[in-house]
């Protein structure tokens, strides 16, 4: 097959991260890039793009030539060597140099500091230093000081900065220990999780198992080196995380929450992903409750009490301690003439959430009154007056109950 066919069949993936501010992308490029997760082929993306096919294809080609994406399956070697960018500008670099830079750039977020420097995790300080020096000679921006290297300059910048960071962390005893105990353990744990399916369990992907110690198989997996699958999962996780961040930026909290959840699935111990998921999820829940309460209000206006109950029940499912929802539930049951015990339960829950709320207390009092539990009703109205001495309604209700009970005992 010719090259065009190969490209259409190939699966594109973003090289490095989408968040480099140096990358000047227009919205169409951004959109197409957001569809590229390494699983869909170019052909599939073009058909889903919702834009003129030729235009989309031109954009994809341009992204490929600039080295922003790699297309798996086009040149088998190209992934190892870092992708296309053969026709891309940067006359000051040879093809080999470009590929070397892209390969290094692609690795940056995906591998451990040890692998980045090309040393074993047990490497001595001297070995680490020599490795850093050797790599500095290759990737320091000064090496390419006056050459025309276009888009590769900021990539080089990122590579060197990351190398220096890796060197700084690994060459200081304290920070190296910390790194070994956190990040390296995470990688080992990820290896264990990936190793499990290989041992016969058909789970895909493996569920986050909070508390599974990275023991079984870790040492073996470690000896084998870090399998490609681990890196793929970490990369997938990162990809979804980025989609989530993009969603946050556009205030699409539900979509963000979904993406973060996916990110967590691929990388369950990642605190950052967890935090983002929880926060996004919290916003989603909050928004949803607001919507349900609003709908409950509208239903109440047209006296569709069953519907009101439905909405409020859904809201309470999302947030079981929501004072306002409980109170409104109590009120609607009262109005409907429904089960007073149920109304009382809701009313009590509302008060649990806001003990000083006058309205909630008055509702409870009213429920007791309707249920002929006058002592309880009086007690609640008294409490109301304690909180709000000028409450005329409470005063009136007390008078009425006293009148009623006097009549009764007569």
């Amino acid at each position: 097959m010719d090259r065009k066919e190969a490209i259409l069949k190939g699966k594109p993936r973003i090289l490095g991260t989408l968040h480099e501010t140096h990358l000047k992308l227009d919205p169409k490029e951004g959109f197409l890039l957001s569809r590229m997760d390494g699983h869909m082929s170019v052909e599939e993306i073009l058909s889903l793009a919702g834009m003129d096919r030729e235009e989309a294809l031109t954009i994809v080609m341009r992204l490929w030539e600039r080295g922003v994406i790699v297309i798996e399956g086009v040149d088998e070697e190209s992934i190892r060597k870092g992708g296309a960018a053969r026709e891309s500008g940067a006359k000051g670099l040879s093809r080999e140099e470009k590929q070397k830079i892209l390969a290094a750039y692609d690795k940056l977020e995906r591998v451990s500091y040890y692998e980045l420097l090309g040393v074993a995790p047990q490497a001595s300080r001297k070995e680490i230093k020599n490795a850093y020096f050797a790599l500095s000679r290759e990737f320091h921006p000064d090496r390419f000081f006056r050459r025309d290297i276009g888009d590769f300059r900021w990539r080089l910048d990122s590579i060197f900065k990351k190398l220096t960071l890796a060197y700084d962390v690994l060459s200081t005893t304290k920070s190296r220990e910390e790194y070994d105990q956190t990040v390296m353990e995470d990688i080992k744990a990820a290896q264990v999780r990936a190793a499990e399916p290989e041992q016969g369990k058909e789970k895909e992907p493996s569920k986050p198992d909070a508390g599974s110690p990275p023991v079984k198989g870790a040492a073996e997996a470690h000896k084998r080196g870090i399998p490609k699958e681990i890196l793929e999962r970490v990369e997938k996780a990162k990809h979804f995380f980025e989609l989530g961040i993009k969603d946050l930026f556009e205030k699409k909290y539900a979509s963000a929450s979904g993406n973060f959840k996916l990110a967590l699935t691929y990388d369950p111990y990642n605190e950052k992903y967890k935090k983002h998921y929880e926060e996004a999820h919290a916003v989603v829940v909050k928004n949803e409750i607001e919507r349900l309460l609003h709908l409950a209000g509208s239903a109440e206006n047209i006296l569709h009490y069953e519907e009101v109950k439905d909405f409020l029940t859904k809201a309470l499912d999302l947030s079981p301690d929501h004072g306002q929802a409980h109170h409104r539930m109590a009120r609607v049951i009262l109005t409907m003439g429904g089960d007073l015990k149920e109304a009382k339960d809701h009313s009590l829950k509302a008060l649990e959430a806001s003990p000083k709320d006058i309205e909630y207390r008055m509702t409870l009092a009213q429920i007791y009154k309707v249920a002929a539990l006058y002592k309880n009703a009086l007690r609640e109205y008294d409490m109301t007056l304690k909180l709000d001495p000028k409450n005329d309604e409470a005063k009136a209700q007390i008078k009425e109950i006293q009148r009623m009970t006097r009549l009764r005992f007569k």
Binding site: T21, N130, F133, D142, F145, D157, T164, L165, D168, F249
Partner: protein, 524 residues
Amino acid sequence: MGKVIGIDLGTTYSCVSVVEDGRPIVIPNKGGYRTTPSVFAVTDDGRKLVGHLAKRQAITNPQNTIYAVKRLIGRRHDSPEVKRAKETCSYEIVNGPHDDVRIVCAGKTYSPQELSAFVLMEVKRAAEEYLEEKVSEAVITVPAYFNDNQRQATKDAGKIADLEVPRIINEPTASALAYGINRKKKDEKIAVYDLGGGTFDISILELGAGVFEVLATSGDTYLGGEDFDARIIDYLVQEFYREHRVDLKTDRLALQRLKEASEKAKCDLSSLKETTINLPFISSDSHGPKHLVLPFPRKKLEMLTSDLVDRTIEVVKQTLEECELATADIDDVILVGGQTRMPLVAEAVGNFFGKPPSKGINPDEAVAIGAAIQGASLFQDKAEMLLLDVTPLSLGIAIYGGAYTPIIERNTTIPVRKGHIFTTATDNQTAIKIRVLQGENQKAEENTLLGEFILHGLRKAKAGVPEIEVSFDINADGIISVSAKDMETGKEQAITVTASSGLTEEEIRKMTEEAKIMEVVLKE
């Protein structure tokens, strides 16, 4: 494209070098001198002089002979150093329009950048004559401890001199390049002790396989040969007063002569055990003319200045401690700067390190040579050496309460990018002001302000909830960029620090309606 020259723009002397056929050479000026005084003057008849000619007529023209401009470049007019200069300089220093300084010379005002540019032009001319071709690029050196403003100002001086400055490098690092470029030995740790006319710098470097890595650099920008001279002057003034009851400090002309004599005596005593200070007709009163004639032994000079030397050793000690190195770890010590010719200095350094300082390097020329080497290496395809320099001063921001948080610690290899998460200090704060500072003082206001900007549009929330990531980025040329990003909305604001004297580059786009404090608090 022409050759790149290396220029050591010194407080008292400047030197220029270039790499020819793979070897660095120092370019002499027209008079055959390998160094050029960093002096500019305007004579009575309006002639402009630079270099040796300017220096020679200094004594008869003190008000219009400008020297030691390096002590003023990039500094604020209210800084202690400038205040000190105003007291001792024979020329007039006035406040500039950007909180900087201006110098008055023959009725005109000049900025320090301009005056430095005159010196640069002088050495540039010498280089062009020697090379017989136009020179348009130069690597210029600065003291390692120069802050960003001072570096930018030096670059500006280059621009004024019609020189493109691809890189500013630190003087001790340049010396190390000059020293190490021919060393075949692998893996050495060296200390560069640089005591020049105006500043003291100490740098520890590691050399290995063609890579020069700066491990740490420190110094004292208020300590140099001039301070040694000042001690001698004070002593002479004191002696003269004791005998004649006349305070020579109030006499500008006398002061000028004292200065020259002190400097000469100091230099003489590097090789002689004793000298005589002889200044006839230094003063006069109703009784007639007065002379100053004083025997001045080396021992006296050492007594007067030993505390200055001790101060430098203290800094060296601290710097070694910061690198977690012992004196035994240092394989070689090199001395740079004219003041290191003083036997007391060489002795103190040798004693501290437990080995005599290396002799293979010319203390006056090493810096320029190193600059030329770096310049050549930047433009070479397969350069043999690579310099991994560091940022000498910490970079950070001001946070709530007026404290300072460094984000990039000093002695971090550049280029570098580091970030930290911060949050708001008050409820419903929708903007934060980022003030970019350079320095080590825990109080924000004691450090140098490089620039500031405001990030608007934060979601209204309780104090401590929003997450703002502040990132610092220093590229290989030492250009600093700072950005602040609201992690929730993704909104970002950034500046590239190109201040020349504490001025902000970017205009602040709009002020928020809340006039409350816009400050920042550490998230963790």
